[in-house]
Amino acid sequence: MLALLRDLRTLRRGIGLPSGRPGSLALRHVDCGSCNGCEHELTLVSGPTVDLARYGLGIVASPRHADVLLVTGPVTTRMRAALLTAYEAMPEPRRVAALGDCAVGIGILGSPSEIVGPVEAVLPVDLRIHGCPPTPEEIAAALLSLLDRRPDA
C-alpha cells in the first residue's frame, strides 16, 4: 500500500484543519434511527483524509471508555432505552453531541408514535452538529471545538 502513503501527503495538505491543539477525546457513536448518512460520513472522519486520530480523537468500542456520546438520528422509541444505558455507562465528565439534522431536531421524518424526538428530548446536548449529513470536515471541526471547552464548562 505504498501508493496510499504517497497520495496521503497531498491529500492531507488540503484539509486545513487546525493543528497543534493539545488534548484527546474518546468518542462513542450510537445510531438512534439515522438514514445511515451520518454514519457513512463519520466513518470517513476516521479515514485517511481527515484522520481525526492525529488530533487525539478516536472512536472507542465501549461507552465506559468514552468522553463524548455521538448520537445520530431522531431517537426512535425502540432505541431510547439503549441510548440511556450507553449514557449511564459513561464516566464523568461526559459530553453528548447530536450529530446531523435529525439528531438536532430539524426536519425529522417519521410517525410520531415511533419517534421520541431529537436527542435533547432524552439527554442534555452539549454540541449540535448541523447538516444532512454534515461532511467529514464539518464533523471533525465541530468535534475539535470540544477540545477548547473546559471539562466543567
Binding site: C35, N36, T49, I59, T76, A82, I115
Partner: protein, 469 residues
C-alpha cells in the same frame, strides 16, 4: 369493495400457478384501506414485468404463501405486526417489527448439550447502524442467528400517507443514504406507473446516471468494508479515500454528496452542462485507474485472501429459496439483475457479469463487486458523453389506483408499490434489496465460526435504515 377481492383459496391457487410459470415472489404488503383491507403479493417475471395479486383481508386472516415462496417470511411477519393480519399456516408467526413481544417469542428455540446464546447489539462496537443479533452457538460454532432488527423503525411508510405524491418522495428518499437514489427512482416509477406516465429517453438517462453514481460509491464502500471485516486497515483506508472522492464528485454534480433530492416524480431536474459531464468523466476515469490498482493490491494480500474462501456460503439453491437478490445472488451464479429488464432506464443491452468461480462465499461476493465496478463505470462514461438537461415524462398507459416498480440497488432488487387516492399517497411499500437479503445473512452465518460473522456480514454490507424504515 371487499367483495371484489379474491378469497384465500383463489389467492393461493393464483400464486401457486404463477410460481410454476416462472414468476417469482417480489414482495407482499397489507393495506388498511377503508372497507377493503387487503394483502397484496407482488410477483416479477424473468422479463421484468410485475403483477400484484390481492387477497381479501377483511376477516383479519389470509392464507400464508410462505410454504410456496419462503422469501415471503419477513413480509408476512411485518404485515402481521403492523397491520394485524394473521397468516393461516405460517407457524410459528414470530414477531419481526413488533418489539413489544418478549424475546422468548422472537427467539428460535435451540436445544442440545453445550448450546448457549451470544447477544450482540443493538449498539455495536464500531460506527455501525443499530440492530440486535442473537447467536446460538456451541463454542465458536454458529448453529443459528436470529437478527432482531427494526430498532430504527421510524414509521416512514405511515408518515407518507396523506402526502401528495411528489411530497411522498422525500420520505422514501431519506429512508436510507446508501440507497437514496434507488429508493427515490423506484418510488417515482411506481407513481408514474399509477399516473400513466412514461419516462422519456432523457429522463431515463438522467436517472441511470444518478443510479450508477450511487452504485460506484457503494461498490467502493462495500469492497472497503470487507477489508475492515478482516482488519486490513490499508485496504479499508484506500477504498475509504476513493469513496470520499466519489461523494465529492456527487456534490459537484448535484449539490449533495449522497445525491439527495436529485430525483423527481414526473420528470428529471438534473442539469449537467458540458464542463460538468467532462469533469465527471475525468474524475471517474481516475477512480477507475486507482480502484483497479488498489484491487490488484488486495488480490496479492494473503491475509485478506486466505480468510474468504468457503466462508459464509449462500449457494444458488439457497438464493432461489430465500429470494436473494443483487451481487449476493450473482456471486452464486444466479442471473438476477433488474438492470437487464429496465425499459424505463438507459441500460440498453445490459447483461450481468459472472465470476468463473461463482461459489457464493465471502470471496465470491467481494470479487463480484470488483467485477461489476468496471461495467458500471463504462455505463456512466457512455451516458455522460453529452450534457444533461431537465426533462419531463410523457403521457403513456392508463391511470390506475396502484403502481409498482423494481430497480436494481447496490444491494439488489428494490421494489416499491404506491397505492394512491387521487394525487395523494394512500399506502407506500418499499422493499429494498437489504430487506430481501437479511435472511440470507443468517443463513450464511450458520455452521461458520462466530469470529467470522463480522466478515460474513460485511460481505453483504446491508443497510438497516431502509430495511427498518
Amino acid at each position: 369493495m371487499s367483495g371484489v377481492l379474491p378469497g384465500g383459496s383463489a389467492y393461493r391457487a393464483t400464486i401457486e400457478a404463477a410460481l410454476a410459470e416462472g414468476w417469482r415472489f417480489a414482495g407482499l404488503h397489507a393495506t388498511a384501506a377503508e372497507g377493503a383491507p387487503a394483502v397484496r403479493a407482488l410477483l416479477a417475471s424473468p422479463d421484468g414485468s410485475l403483477r400484484l395479486e390481492p387477497v381479501d383481508a377483511s376477516s383479519g386472516v389470509v392464507p400464508t404463501i410462505v410454504d410456496l415462496a419462503p422469501a415471503a417470511g419477513w413480509d408476512e411477519r411485518e404485515a402481521h405486526d403492523l397491520y394485524g393480519v394473521r397468516f393461516d399456516g405460517h407457524e410459528p408467526l414470530r414477531p419481526l417489527v413488533d418489539h413489544g413481544a418478549g424475546l422468548a417469542r422472537f427467539t428460535t428455540h435451540v436445544r442440545g448439550a453445550d448450546t448457549y446464546q451470544v447477544a450482540v447489539g443493538p449498539i455495536h462496537a464500531g460506527v455501525i447502524e443499530s440492530g440486535h443479533f442473537r447467536f446460538h452457538v456451541v463454542g465458536d460454532l454458529i448453529l443459528h442467528v436470529d437478527a432482531r432488527l427494526f430498532h430504527k423503525h421510524r414509521g416512514l411508510e405511515r408518515a407518507a400517507e396523506g402526502l401528495t405524491l411528489p411530497d411522498g418522495l422525500a420520505v422514501v428518499a431519506r429512508s436510507c443514504a446508501g440507497c437514496s437514489v434507488t429508493n427515490a427512482v423506484a418510488y417515482a416509477q411506481a407513481c408514474e406507473d399509477a399516473l400513466g406516465l412514461d419516462p422519456t429517453p432523457e429522463v431515463a438517462r438522467a436517472r441511470t446516471i444518478l443510479l450508477e453514481l450511487e452504485r460506484v460509491w457503494n461498490t467502493l464502500n462495500d469492497i472497503g468494508a470487507v477489508c475492515a471485516g478482516v482488519g486490513l486497515a490499508a485496504g479499508t483506508n484506500r477504498f475509504a479515500e476513493l469513496v470520499d472522492r466519489t461523494r465529492a464528485l456527487n456534490a459537484r454534480l448535484t449539490g449533495h454528496r449522497f445525491l439527495f433530492d436529485s430525483v423527481k416524480v414526473g420528470g428529471s431536474g438534473l442539469e449537467l452542462d458540458g464542463d460538468a459531464v467532462a469533469d465527471a468523466r475525468g474524475a471517474l476515469a481516475r477512480i477507475r485507474a486507482e480502484s483497479s490498482r488498489a484491487w490488484r493490491e488486495l488480490l496479492f494480500n494473503g491475509s485478506l485472501m486466505d480468510r474468504m474462501p468457503d466462508i459464509g456460503v449462500v449457494d444458488a439453491a439457497a438464493v432461489a429459496t430465500l429470494g436473494v437478490v443483487g451481487p449476493a445472488a450473482r456471486a452464486a451464479g444466479v442471473p438476477e439483475d433488474v438492470r437487464a429488464t429496465s425499459p424505463g432506464l438507459a441500460y440498453d443491452g445490459f447483461q450481468p457479469a459472472f465470476l468463473r468461480r461463482p461459489a457464493g462465499d465471502v470471496q465470491a461476493r467481494l470479487e463480484q463487486r470488483a467485477l461489476e465496478l468496471l461495467p458500471c463505470l463504462d455505463i456512466l462514461d457512455g451516458l455522460l458523453q453529452r450534457p444533461v438537461r431537465p426533462a419531463a415524462t410523457a403521457a403513456g398507459g392508463p391511470r390506475t389506483a396502484i403502481g409498482a416498480s423494481r430497480v436494481e440497488s447496490p444491494r439488489g432488487a428494490t421494489t416499491c408499490v404506491v397505492e394512491r387516492d387521487g394525487d395523494r399517497v394512500d399506502r407506500i411499500r418499499l422493499r429494498t434489496g437489504s430487506y430481501a437479503n437479511w435472511p440470507a445473512v443468517a443463513h450464511a452465518a450458520a455452521t461458520n465460526l462466530l469470529p467470522d460473522f463480522p466478515l460474513i456480514n460485511k460481505s453483504f454490507e446491508l443497510c438497516y435504515a431502509c430495511a427498518d424504515r
